[in-house]
């Protein structure tokens, strides 16, 4: 007994190790969360630079800066980096920081696994980015890498791409297992499932989606690898294979993936809106059930990405109906957020500004998604800029705004300093305006007939493309304000209170700002 007490004492005293080894060997959820977040921000800027290269080329018709071969590499890498390098690691970083603190756990369930999950990522992306310098160029078949463009007709670097995807998959699956174990096993006494903050709930469900979807991705890239190097013909029609099979398997992964990139965002918004409305979240239970039904439905809608591949009528109808159904639970969420704001006592600090614009712009993306679900008209929308507009609305002012909202919301807790509010608001307004100027005209372009992923376009698309490119540069450069604000906040600033925000409720706000290196070494008791 005595020895045990002693170890606990020793443990409580030690702070982080010094120097680089702190980050290399760390098993501390806060350190790993920080690593994930910085890594994701770096990738956000890398992927963003590629997006700006694309928009610069599309500023005017004709080929100017980025020739078609490089253009295709840019669209592909931009997509892959933003999905796997920016959005997903950012959510994992937020989960690392917040989930243990929200459920009253001392750390993640598997701290060493946690370290490994993170440290796989930089190597995977070094491999992926190195393809840009290889003969034949980087992957150029789109982030959806449809076979046979990505197999028989792919550049040599596709093998490196496959290897990188495998590593990313391993990292995500381990991260997901860790989050599930933490939530299910390390909750403080009294923290029942139906008391979990929504961020925790949405992450729990996301983690299950990851475990179900990532192996499918691993499977599909392995089949590609076999086709390319070992003479199989899974996707090669000349050998009796089936290129459409690729799309079925890919979208069986990629549709849940879409929800992996938005559910944690729903969670963040569900934390922020009640805080700044000074009112409890409306319909907590229905929020949980809505998330569960979205997760379930996300596995039976995949072929809505494939309405033009020549599916039989029955298939088209099935996928149209199931896809339309998703709007019911999604609607419930939006209504609940609005009802939470209704008759609250609202203030609009930066996190709330991002959260409110998330609700508005995500809803626009959701509504264009409903339009896309209507199979007969999807024949007109499919593979045009209308789709590009749709998924950028759900991913940029959707996923990315939710991440930024979360960072502004929790930054004072993490650092013990308030960020610069004026700068935060300026960042918000520039982002908000930039995002809309960039992506709103894309709806028009798509409806007017501009296909996606083209490096050059007909003259009637010139005007909106120019507008869109201007918006992209406004949005892109205003993110430097974000970087500056975060760095300033880490280095100093007004001291944050423990509760930080007047309306904040929950375990994470009961501990000091910044929290000690190890929180909840004694489990708190939840009433």
């Amino acid at each position: 007994m005595a020895t045990l007490d002693q170890t606990v004492d020793v443990h409580e005293d030690h702070g982080p190790a010094k120097g680089i080894t702190r980050w290399l060997y760390t098993t501390n959820h806060k350190d790993i969360g920080t690593l994930y977040l910085w890594f994701s921000l770096l990738m956000f800027f890398v992927g963003g630079t590629m997006a700006l290269a694309i928009r610069a080329e599309l500023f005017q018709p004709g080929m100017q800066l980025v020739e078609p071969a490089l253009f295709n590499q840019m669209t592909t890498m931009h997509g892959l980096i933003m999905v796997f390098g920016a959005v997903m690691p950012a959510f994992v970083g937020l989960a690392n920081w917040m989930v243990p603190m929200m459920v009253g756990a001392p750390d993640m369930a598997f701290p060493r696994l946690n370290n490994w999950s993170f440290w796989i990522l930089p190597f995977a992306f070094i491999i992926l980015l190195s393809t840009l310098f290889m003969e034949g160029g980087a992957p150029d078949f789109g982030w959806t890498f449809y076979a046979p463009l990505s197999t028989t007709y792919a550049p040599q670097s596709v093998t490196y791409f496959i290897f990188a995807v495998h590593m990313l998959g391993i990292s995500s699956i381990m991260g997901a297992i860790n989050i599930i174990a933490t939530i299910l096993n390390l909750r403080a006494p009294g923290m029942t499932m139906m008391k979990l903050p929504l961020f925790v709930w949405t992450w729990l469900i996301t983690a299950f989606l990851l475990i179900a979807a990532m192996p499918v991705l691993a499977g599909v890239v392995t089949m590609m690898l076999m086709d390319i190097h070992f003479g199989t013909s899974f996707f090669n029609a000349a050998g009796g294979g089936d290129p459409v099979l690729f799309q079925h398997v890919f979208w069986f992964f990629a549709h849940p993936e879409v929800y992996i990139m938005i559910l944690p965002g729903f969670g963040i918004i569900s934390q922020i809106i009640p805080t700044f409305s000074r009112k409890r979240l409306f319909g907590y239970h229905s929020m949980v059930y809505a998330t569960l039904s979205i997760a379930f439905l996300s596995f039976i809608v995949w072929a809505h990405h494939m309405f033009t591949v020549g599916m039989p009528l029955a298939g088209e109808l099935f996928f149209m109906y199931t896809t339309m159904l998703i709007s019911v639970p999604t609607g419930v969420k939006v209504f609940n957020w609005v009802a939470t704001m209704f008759r609250g006592s609202l203030t609009f600090e930066t996190p709330m500004l991002f959260a409110v614009s998330f609700v508005v712009l995500f809803t626009i993306g959701g509504l264009s998604g409903l339009m896309l679900a209507i199979a007969p008209v999807d024949f007109q929308y499919h593979d045009t800029y209308f789709v590009v507009a749709h998924f950028h609305y759900v991913l940029v002012p959707g996923a990315i705004f939710s991440i930024m909202a979360g960072v502004y919301f929790w930054l004072p807790k993490w650092t013990g300093h308030m960020y610069n509010e004026r700068l935060g608001q300026l960042h918000f307004w520039l982002s908000f305006i930039g995002v809309n100027i960039t992506f709103f005209p894309m709806h028009f372009l798509g409806l007017a007939g501009m296909p996606r992923r083209i490096s050059d376009y007909a003259l009637q698309f010139a005007d909106f493309n120019m507008v869109s490119s201007v918006g992209a540069f406004i949005f892109g450069f205003s993110q430097l304000l974000f970087l500056y604000n975060v760095v300033q906040c880490i280095r100093g600033g007004r001291t944050a209170t423990d509760q930080v925000w007047e309306g904040a409720r929950g375990l994470e706000w009961s501990i000091s700002s910044p929290p000690p290196y190890h929180t909840f070494t004694q489990p708190p008791l939840v009433k």
Binding site: F141, R278, E316, V328, S345, F379, Q380, F444, F464
Partner: protein
């Protein structure tokens, strides 16, 4: 206040766009019954979405304006209501049913290709479309006709920049035309918005779609599935003509075919062949092998200085006729006439310093084709 400024700002930004002709913001009504049906469906869903947005955002902006702390608003305490929550699950579901009914009807109509009067097989290949009329002896390839100088901004761009081809697909109006889609290499997708036909052309598969154009005219579209570096450069032009004009066109095509047969018999000189070959090369081969014959390292081999160009003629003819399976080098045996093939091979053997002096006669091609 900020929001109002923003609303004005965005309205100010977008409103002039709706009046200017060049700034098309909506779908085309198109030229067929199906395209009209799609348009109406699109507008119906759009208006429903706008209505939903107005209600949701209305309540939200009401709260944003009225229930601010700075105005002294105190938070109320309600946080659930089974009735309301059930209502806002059921009502959207009913709205979905309203959308699903016309959508299902339109889809069923689109999926009925029966009683087609003309069947055309459309084959995508990197980066051109081939049209074969199954009822007629007509078979041709349709290439982008915009010049490289326009793309490189060296000369002024034409009105139909990137949406023009050397030979359009010609179809009769008011006849049900069935299209059969397939591909030679990667997946392409054939889309003409005004006909409301978008169908993937997939290697090893045959997909079908149909159209019945009601107004004569020229309708333009593009490949919509990423298919490699030339994805932006494989447009589609459909010329829908009255029955009589269509039949006349069919006549012309067979006359032209006979003329070609005569040309193949003719005795060609080396100069004639290289001159014609250069044109074919620039039109068909230079996208990959480059006008300089130097190719693109790692993707498309250089022909300039290649041993094959001055070596075995039969092997050279063989690769151009039959392509090389599993690479972007496709079989040109059916895509080009014997004269074109003889000319382009002769050209390759004599251009860029490949001075073999060899001449390939069209008859040689015809022999090797067998």
């Amino acid at each position: 206040m900020r929001l109002i400024i923003l609303a004005l700002l965005s309205a100010g930004l977008y409103s002039p766009l709706f009046v200017a002709a060049d700034w098309q913001v909506n779908l085309d009504q198109g030229a067929t019954e199906i395209s009209q049906a799609m348009y109406s469906l699109h507008m119906l869903i759009f208006y429903i979405c706008v209505a939903i947005a107005v209600v949701v955002f209305g309540v939200m902006f009401w709260s944003i304006i009225r229930h601010r702390k700075s105005r002294g608003a105190e938070a109320h305490n309600f946080h659930e209501s089974t009735t309301i929550e059930v209502a806002w699950s059921v009502v959207p579901f009913l709205i979905l049913v309203i959308m699903a009914v016309p959508a299902t009807k339109t889809l069923i109509a689109m999926y009925d290709p029966s009683d087609a009067e003309l069947n055309i097989q459309i084959t995508g290949s990197q980066w051109k479309w081939r049209y074969q009329y199954l009822e007629h002896d007509i078979d041709f390839i349709s290439n982008l006709s915009t010049s490289q100088e326009q793309i490189d901004n060296k000369v002024k761009k034409s009105v139909n920049y990137l949406l023009e081809v050397d030979q359009p697909l010609v179809i009769p109006v008011n006849r049900k035309v069935r299209f059969l889609f397939t591909s030679n290499d990667v997946i392409h997708s054939w889309w003409v918005p005004a006909l409301a036909v978008k169908q993937d052309a997939i290697p090893g598969f045959i997909n079908e779609a149909w159209t019945k154009v009601s107004t004569p005219g020229t309708y333009r579209g593009q490949c919509t599935e990423l298919c490699g570096v030339g994805h932006a450069f494989m447009p589609i032009v459909v010329s829908a003509r009255p029955e009589a004009e269509f039949l006349q066109w069919v006549e012309e095509q067979s006359a032209q075919k006979q003329a070609e047969a005569v040309l193949a018999e003719k005795e060609w000189t080396l100069d004639e062949l290289t001159a014609h070959g250069e044109q074919v090369y620039l039109k068909v081969c230079s996208v990959c092998h480059q006008p300089t014959g130097e190719g693109v390292p790692g993707a498309f081999p250089a022909l300039k200085g290649s041993a094959l160009m001055t070596g075995d003629i039969n092997a050279h003819i063989d690769i151009v006729l039959n392509g090389r399976t599993g690479t972007a080098m496709q079989a040109f045996r059916d895509q080009l006439s014997a004269v074109d093939l003889a000319a382009v091979i002769t050209y390759e053997r004599n251009a860029w310093g490949n001075n073999s002096g060899d001449k390939v006669a069209p008859s040689q091609i015809q022999q090797q084709k067998q």
